[in-house]
């Protein structure tokens, strides 16, 4: 995710205990399923991630280039928008979690699921 516009290095969380209580784990899982989609399986979401052609900031062009470069989604990728104001998004894939900050992306994802 190094090509995404985040204000710092991605923070990987792989510790086996972390700070997840079982209840918050389940709650977070529910919020994740409710608030975001599985990238690649939700129609139109890949367009959101790539950014609209007319409004994409420069950094998002990098993301578009990454996708155009032949990346293949071989296993599910899940994004959890944790905080709209800071743009904190947790990305889950395989046994990894990567934390990024991208307020614009967070806002667009939120807009996509608003009724």
């Amino acid at each position: 995710m190094g090509t995404t516009d985040h204000d710092g290095e991605p923070q990987e969380s792989g510790t086996w205990f972390g700070n997840f209580s079982r209840r918050t784990f389940i709650q977070r899982g529910t919020l994740t399923a409710a608030a975001v989609g599985v990238v690649g399986s939700v129609p139109g979401l890949s367009g959101l991630l790539a950014g609209g052609a007319s409004e994409a900031p420069a950094a998002e062009a990098d993301a578009t280039e990454f996708e155009a470069g032949g990346g293949t989604l071989t296993e599910p990728l899940v994004a959890h928008v944790k905080d709209l104001s800071t743009g904190e998004i947790s990305l889950f894939q395989g046994e990894r979690q990567v934390l990024i900050r991208d307020p614009a992306l967070a806002s667009r994802l939120f807009s996509a699921v608003r009724p």
């Binding site: 792989g14 079982r22 296993e75």
Partner: protein, 497 residues
């Protein structure tokens, strides 16, 4: 129970619910240590057609701390895969299961599990999940079926024997078994959770008169006819200790053991049966070291959190539960006049329980019991089952282990835990004050502290809980699972068919 359904959240997730943990020097092969972690509590033997199985989406681990810092130095990881051999059938099997063979469409056995076993060496890799040098000891290892009955599993012992695998890879070796076994833990659940009216002493209970309870009633082994799923390992001792110990007094002889179950942090289901996926880092949902810790020591508001934490958390946010356990303060009230010395000790707010901290959190230092120690060498407080691997198995085991009389059996709990150890009685006596004089010479225990029991054994040499348990004298030591056809019955049948 030892750790069955011991916390609100894990009680809703049986496949990830650790129930008991055993660690002992193998009596028939003393150069090895046997580690057994049980999961999936209180299995009704006839509970089909979807009989019990490990979770494909659960990471099961047995950890070993051989440096005393509270963190794992070695972990063994079990990961399971499930196959429907006959997807069109609703049955567990459509004919007798006569041999253990890899999954196949021509099999009589419909739903079958295999697993991988990976050893992780954390030394030099830093602390944290996924850090370590991994060695895959085995892949596609076969589990036995559940014990269904005389027509489905007529030769159950041979199926279970075929599921014992000898593994060797990367300079490491292990004997392993993963599958259903008879529950080996014995306890009178009905009594202990009915405000502690232990049947042999119920007449002394505060509520005896109102309920018409009398002394001398025999205990009831509530787990006598149920099954569990076991992860059993037998490993050369030299592969578990940090160095070859020079003898029982060498700190290098002591290992701390605990088991965990973890789930990935994200699960998304699409509403179509098993049409779902999990992703993300593993998040611990169950933990077990010494028996009954989360069950009887930790407060209900912290039990779920405790399950998610590493053992090192015990010396921090959970220490107050060990220092002043609630059960010790309740006993004098439940049994008026029976524990006056314990009541007096409890009445001093600054008094703590260093005996319980030693037994459960650090191991017993060398000066407490002459000739014995299972101290971790650092004083780091962490709930781990601590085993001094240099102590040879006893030729005449005592089910009260170190609390046996007139001489304690140093090969038994709390020096590790053997399958037949009466851990419920041992811990109850310790909580009642029987072990406090070992570390506080000013304290004398109440006479009742050394005599209280659940009434489930005929004496200290009884290794069958009055013929309600049927352990094996060889790996995996826990008995043949109770057959679904034959149990429940008025006379539980512990062997197939």
């Amino acid at each position: 129970m030892s750790s069955h359904r011991e916390a609100p959240e894990i009680s809703k997730d049986p496949v990830a619910d650790s129930t008991d943990l055993y660690a002992f020097v193998s009596p028939d092969d003393p150069n090895t240590v046997t580690l057994i972690a049980n999961y999936i509590p209180l299995q009704a033997p006839g509970g089909g057609p979807n009989f019990y199985e490990f979770g494909e989406d659960v990471l099961y681990e047995i950890h070993i701390d051989n440096t005393g810092d509270g963190n794992p130095d070695i972990s063994y990881q079990f990961r399971f895969t499930t196959v429907n051999n006959i997807p069109s059938s609703f049955l567990y099997n459509d004919g007798p299961i006569m041999s253990l063979t890899p999954p196949s469409a021509s099999s009589n056995w419909n739903r079958q599990q295999t697993y991988s076993l990976t050893r992780v060496d954390h030394h030099g890799w830093g602390w944290g999940w996924g850090n370590g040098q991994t060695t895959v000891l085995g892949n596609g290892l076969l589990c036995p079926p559940c014990n269904i009955g005389p027509l489905s599993t007529p030769t159950y012992e041979s199926l279970a024997s075929a599921a014992v695998h000898q593994l060797s890879a990367g300079g490491h070796s292990a004997t392993v078994f993963a599958g259903q076994r008879a529950e080996g833990f014995y306890v009178d659940l009905g009594a202990v959770f009915d405000l502690g009216d232990l049947r042999p002493f119920a007449g002394d209970h505060a509520g005896a008169k109102a309920a018409g309870l009398l002394n001398g009633m025999p205990g009831v082994n509530s787990t006598a006819a149920v099954n569990v799923h076991s992860l059993a390992l037998q490993v050369p001792t030299a592969e578990l200790t940090r160095a070859r110990p020079e003898g029982p007094s060498d700190p290098a002889a002591v290992i701390g053991v605990w088991t965990t179950a973890s789930r990935q942090q994200v699960r998304i289901g699409f509403g179509g049966g098993d049409d779902c996926f999990q992703t993300g880092p593993w998040s611990q949902v169950s933990r077990l070291g010494n028996p009954l810790v989360n069950e009887l020591i930790i407060g209900i508001g912290d039990k779920d959190s405790w399950n998610t934490q590493p053992p090192t958390a015990d010396g921090q946010q959970f220490l107050h539960y060990f220092a002043q356990p609630l059960l010790a303060t309740l006993l004098p009230g439940l049994y008026p006049g029976v524990f006056p010395l314990l009541a007096k000790y409890n009445s001093v707010p600054t008094n703590t329980r260093p005996d319980l901290e030693a037994i459960l959190l650090t191991g017993i230092p060398p000066t407490v019991i002459p000739g014995f120690t299972n101290y971790n060498g650092t004083g780091v407080k962490a709930d781990q089952l601590r085993l001094n691997t240099a102590i040879r198995p006893s030729s005449s085991p005592n089910n009260l282990g170190l609390l046996g009389t007139p001489v304690g059996d140093v090969a038994g709990f709390p020096n590790g835990r053997r399958v037949f150890d009466d851990v419920a009685t041992i811990e109850l006596r310790a909580v009642a004050g029987a072990t406090l004089p070992l570390v506080d010479s000013a304290f004398s225990a109440d006479a009742a502290a050394g005599g209280v029991s659940f009434g489930l054994t005929s004496g200290q040499s009884d290794l069958t809980a009055m013929n309600t348990e049927h352990y094996l004298d060889r790996f995996p030591y826990l008995g043949t699972p109770y057959s679904g056809f034959s149990n429940p019955s008025s006379t539980p049948v512990s062997v197939a068919p």
